[in-house]
Structures are given as structure tokens and as C-alpha cells.
Symmetry: C2
Subunit: 437 residues, 2 copies
Amino acid sequence: MTRSDPKSVIQNNEAAINPHNQSNERRNFLRGGVKAASLVAVASASPMVQAQESVQKDFPAWSITPGKGFSEYGQPSTFEFNTKRTIAKAYGDLAPGTGSTRTPIEKLEGIITPSGLHFERSHNGSPAIIPKEYVLTIHGLVKQALNFSIENLLRYPLKTRTYFIECAGNSAQNILAPQPVQATAGSLHGLISCSDWTGIPLSILLEEAGLDSKAKWVLAEGADAAAMSRSVPLEKILDDAMIALYQNGERLRPEQGYPARLLLPGWEGNMNVKWLRGLKVTSTPTHTKDETSKYTDPMSNGMARQFTFEMGVKSIITNPSATMKLPIPGLYQISGIAWSGAGRILRVEISSDGGKNWFNATLDGESQPHSLVRFRAPWNWKGSPAFLQSRATDEKGHVQPTRAVYKANNSVDGRYHNNTIVTWAVETDGSVKNAYL
Amino acid sequence: MTRSDPKSVIQNNEAAINPHNQSNERRNFLRGGVKAASLVAVASASPMVQAQESVQKDFPAWSITPGKGFSEYGQPSTFEFNTKRTIAKAYGDLAPGTGSTRTPIEKLEGIITPSGLHFERSHNGSPAIIPKEYVLTIHGLVKQALNFSIENLLRYPLKTRTYFIECAGNSAQNILAPQPVQATAGSLHGLISCSDWTGIPLSILLEEAGLDSKAKWVLAEGADAAAMSRSVPLEKILDDAMIALYQNGERLRPEQGYPARLLLPGWEGNMNVKWLRGLKVTSTPTHTKDETSKYTDPMSNGMARQFTFEMGVKSIITNPSATMKLPIPGLYQISGIAWSGAGRILRVEISSDGGKNWFNATLDGESQPHSLVRFRAPWNWKGSPAFLQSRATDEKGHVQPTRAVYKANNSVDGRYHNNTIVTWAVETDGSVKNAYL
């Protein structure tokens, strides 16, 4: 579509830009684009003539032949095949459903995770629950135990909220590995996703069952073959817990607990029990295998913290991030995600010198409690080595800690609840590396 | 899992509920559920023993065998195969890519439309654009015409917003058909969807090209084989228009304009030109085929309104809705979606008597400009005939009109911009029908 000599036009174009004029930062985006070679100016003498000729001569085949017809359920472009979850099986093919898949956070934008890319953590695969056979039982210390079919549940009052879910083991590798692993942000930190969840406030169902005066805890029981079960304080259940039936508008995905899961806003991932078959009201925690052999936090004094429910305040720069390469020096938009189990994100700060100096990023849209928020900041990379970091603060005043603080507070094999500041090192050739600072 | 006689427990359960006690409306949900048969109480003498026995004897096969392993990109449950778009080809297989698919709004919840279920409107199919060959040209009355590759565009500053898109022809059948067509809410009104869109504010790109003093309009040109093109006032382009690159977190879907589309918040669907190949700045509207032969509104005086850009204030009750059946009298949660091209939704009112009396629904979450908002309201159906309606008011004071008002303002073959109040008739057997009032 370009008739003129691109090079001469690029030179003219550059002449029009004053690189010392920092008051209009956006111009530098153009300048970067020009040097990246494919942003070229077209002949400007008579644009309408130029467009006319384009129509007659230069349209690619895909633009002048009838396109693809309609489908009942659409799929991503085949050109985006690389936007996929990273599979990490814990025991290889010995237990194909034990492990996790991670969300490719470095390829995503905004705050909603497409349901097909929501991270998975399963202890023995996704059960193929037949909805007509599904029953949710509320039992234990209640006045009357109750069973609910899916048809029943769907008649209850629903509400919709945007909530993140993060696995307690997210970012574990960045604590355990002696040297920083060079992998994508999603591979390292992708056990975090965020959806529009619709479900029934759990307080409604418990009120119907009627609580015994000794009721203090609720055991949430999964219908998967691992019977993943966790103890939840009754206070949380009556506060903001929901039985989630819909995810991003449609019914729950199989690997997210179809037909129903527990949703505990802001609390560690595996407590949001999937394929929920029972809620047993108890007077004490049940101390299941999933809260004793796993998901406790060993400390450096030999003791272990149990029941670390709330996920810490955290942020990750997703763009640029490890394994990417900045093509040339110039202005970039730093972009990332932040969240906190304690409520809203108040502020995200950015450092490009490994934490010596900080400046505020912009939160894109209003920060909602227990939801991801997208942050953005302009950054002018001058071509010298840089250490990019983000540091989130939540409305309760919690500030994202450094890796050194985590190490001091946990035993050498501690790995859960790693909400420490992530460092991306930008090298002089533009390569972005995972780094420990 | 139930050892006791369900019937006797149901009787006990019903005895505990005072149907005249309207102060606790939620109890009626339970009552409804019981009569619907599968909500049964389990034996309550010793719930813990009961649970123990369940573990040993009563677990279905899907709960005690290892589940399905992991996938790189997940799909909906096969049991939800009926949650799909309705395909409506304009000329059958003569032109398989000409027509639309409609979002099954009656099966969805919240406000985000899953990308696979976003409505489609294509005039000659979805072009298979090769991203490396894609070029967006800004030309016409600019100081310097510019070409942008996708790589270039992805380096520009992005922002994310939740916006609905509605086809100007949505709900046309409810105006044209002499008798109300009995079909799902999605088939009748499903040319409406809502996504988290991420893109570049278009003002940035136009500023780089530099505007000629005669610039007043922008022709947005599609790269599809129909070359779908629309004239847009420059004022809108510089206000809140964006080049959308991401939809619900991931890159645009093919049928939504991959790799880039125009996004004009609140304006009629086809102006949000998909597969955007050019933006030609002009001094006047171009009067393309897509804004003269189509998408004008013939009036009863023989003239036609052209350039009705903004979509009207509108709401639809999605549950219950046509083709559904209420199983029994009792309390239901009415749920639906509302939106306005003029900004935020201020209020949604509900009537169950065809518009004689109205009460306010609750907006679920904060109403955002040019986004869907979910509304909910409890409704106690007593078993007599009812006419359910919703009526939305936006922040500019626009109120959703009646069908009679539309008919008076348009010619007999007018069909676009039908934002009139929708009526669902509930018959004594619980059947829900589409009705004209």
C-alpha cells in the first residue's frame, strides 16, 4: 500500500519529532514504532488517490474473498495458538490430573481471565459430574440437614461479583529455586485468575438449614476423587461466601468446579472448593489432609502456621516481563495486575532501578475488593540496564514485601503465600530476565 | 444420600414455614424448591454418622474415579451444549457469512458475555486476516498519512473498559412481526453483548497523523469482503473511541474483528467496524452503502432518519423469559440486563401487571457508562396471569418507551433502534410467552 520510498518518509517523520520535548510523551511511541521498521508513512500528496489505487490493486486475498461463516460457539484465532495455559503435572503421567495449569498472564490484558485460560489446580483431575445426579448437602450442626439439586440452587437469589482466585502455591518457584528461573510471567506466577462470578450468597442457604449454637466452622467437601476438603470459619461463610454457579456469564467450566463451587473472596485458592458436594457445619476445624499435610507454612523456628486464609497484597508487571525483548530504547507502557485478599488495591508503585526510586502507576478503572486491578505507567527505557519492580499497597495499609523479608519469616522449604516483589531485569540488548533482588 | 422418607421430612419442613410471613422472603425460595421435588431434607438425627455412611456407600462413580487431566485451553461442560448462539443467515447457504448469530442472553448471568457467545453480525463472513500482513492506515485530511502494523499498535498505551455492543437491528422482529414470535429472549433480543475491551485511545493515533483544519468526519473502513464502512463524526473519534485489540483479556476473536476493530462506546453495532483496515479523515460524511441502503430509519412521513448513532436506553428481563416455564407459584428472582448509549443506567423498574404498577429493581454492582448492568428483583408469583415488564431510565433522563410510541414514530417497515419495553406473559400453568402490550 506504500508507493513512496519508506526510508525517506521515515527521515522526514523523524525530523518532525523533537526528542527533547518530553511534554508530549506519546510522540515517542511513534518514534519507537518507526525504528521498529513497520510503521511507515504513506504518500501524502493525494491520500484519496492512494486509497483508490489500494482498492484496485493492493488488497490481500483475505480481504476480497467471502469470509468464514457463523458458529454456535466461537474460538480464538488460530494465530493466537500460543496463548495457552502452561501444564505442570506433579507426578507426570502417573497421575495426569494432579498438578496445575497456569494462566498466561503475560499475554492477557484487562482484568477478566478468559474462562478457557483460568488456572487449574486439581489433586486428582476434574470429575465428570452428571448435573442431574449432583447434590449439595448442608449438614452437621444445623437444625435440619438439607440437600439441594442444581435445579433448586438455580432458583435462589443470585449476585455477581468480580473476584480473583490465587493458589497459595503461586510464585513458589521464585522462593525455592536458588537461581531465578527464566520462564514467562505466566509459568512463574500464573496461578492467579479473575472472573465475573455469579452465585448464591451462602448465608441464605445456611439460614434455611438453621445453625446450632455450637456452630463455629464449616467443612467444605469436594466431590473429586481426591475429596479435597477444607475447614472454613463460619464468620467468613456468613460474610461474603457464595456458591458460584456461573463464571464470566456462562455456567462454571468443568475444571472450575462444574456444576458448583465454593467462592471465598480473597482467600487462598484451594479453599474455594470445586465440585462442592457438602458443607458440614462443625464446632472446630476438621484438620483434613489438605490443611495439615499441605497448605501450611513452615517457619524458620520449626513451627508451622496453619490456616493462613487471606492472600497477601501482590502485584506483577506482565508487560514487559521475563522472556520478552524490548526491540529498541524508547517509551513503553508498563502494564500489570495487582490484588489483595484484604480488600481493594490502593496504590501500585513502579521502580526501574530495583527499588531505590518509586513512582505511582495509574490504576485502570476503579479498584474493586478482592478483584484484580490493572495498573499502567509510561516508562522511557534509555537502553541501559534496568530492574523493573512493582509494589502494591492495599486499603488496609499492607505493602508488598521483598523476597528477603519472606525468607526471614519462613523456613528454607517455605513456599506458600509468596507475595513478594517481582524483579524483571532489562539488559542492554532489551532482553528481559527474571531476577532476585 | 437420604435415608429418611423424603415426604415426611418435606411435610415437617413445610410446617416450619409460615407462608404468611412475608418479612422473610427467602424462606419461600426453599418452599418453592421443596415442591419442585428434588430439594429434600436428609435425616438430621446424627448428621456426622450420615455423612460417614455416604462416604462408604453412596458416592457416584464420577466422584471416586480419577477425573480428567489438564488442558491448554478449556471448553464449557458438554452438559451445557445448549448454551450456544442462534444462527440467522440472511440468504441461507447462498451467502453463508451474511447474517447474524445471537447471544443466548436467557442462559447467561452477570454482565460479561463469554467471547465464544458474543453476537456476530457479518455482511460477508469473517475474513481470515493474516496478522503479519495486516496494516491499519490513517489517511485523508491528515498532515501525514500513517500505516500501523499490529506490532506497532501493541506498543501504544492501552486502556480497558467494559462496553456493550448492540446491533441497530436488535429486537427488529418484535416490531415487524404482526403477532409476537414465540422464541427465546436470545433469539429475539440477542444482538447485544458486553465485553471487557482493551485498546488504544484513537485520539493518540490521530494526533500523530495530525489533523487538517477541514477535518470533520472519519470513514472507518473494514477489511472484510463486504468492505463494511461507516462515517463517524470526528468529535466521537477524539472523545472515547478506541482501537480494540483485546476482548475479555485475550486478543480479539476472529468474528469480532481480529486483529483490530473500532470501538465507539454506546453507538450502533455496525459502526464499531471490525477488521478495521483504514481510517480516512474527511470533511463530510461519505454516505457509504452501509449508511444509505441500510441502517437508516424510515419514518411515517416518508422521510428517513440517517445517522442515528446512539443506542437507546433499554432493558430486558432474561429470567424468566419466553419459552421458559415456572414450575410452581412462589417467590422468584427476576433478573435481566439494562444499558444505554447515553451513559449510565440510573434505574430499572419492574411491572408484573403490564405497566400499571412499577417497583424498583436492584442494580447488581455499580452501573458503568456504556456497559450492561444486571438488575434483580424478587417477585412472588401467585399463580394468576401476569405481564412482566422492565423499564430502564438512564442518567440523561431517557426512559425506555412502549411499542406504541415506536410505531407512531416510525414507518410500517421501520425496524432499527427498537428499544421498546419487552413484555413476557406468564400464563396460569407457568408458561412464559412473548407478548405485545
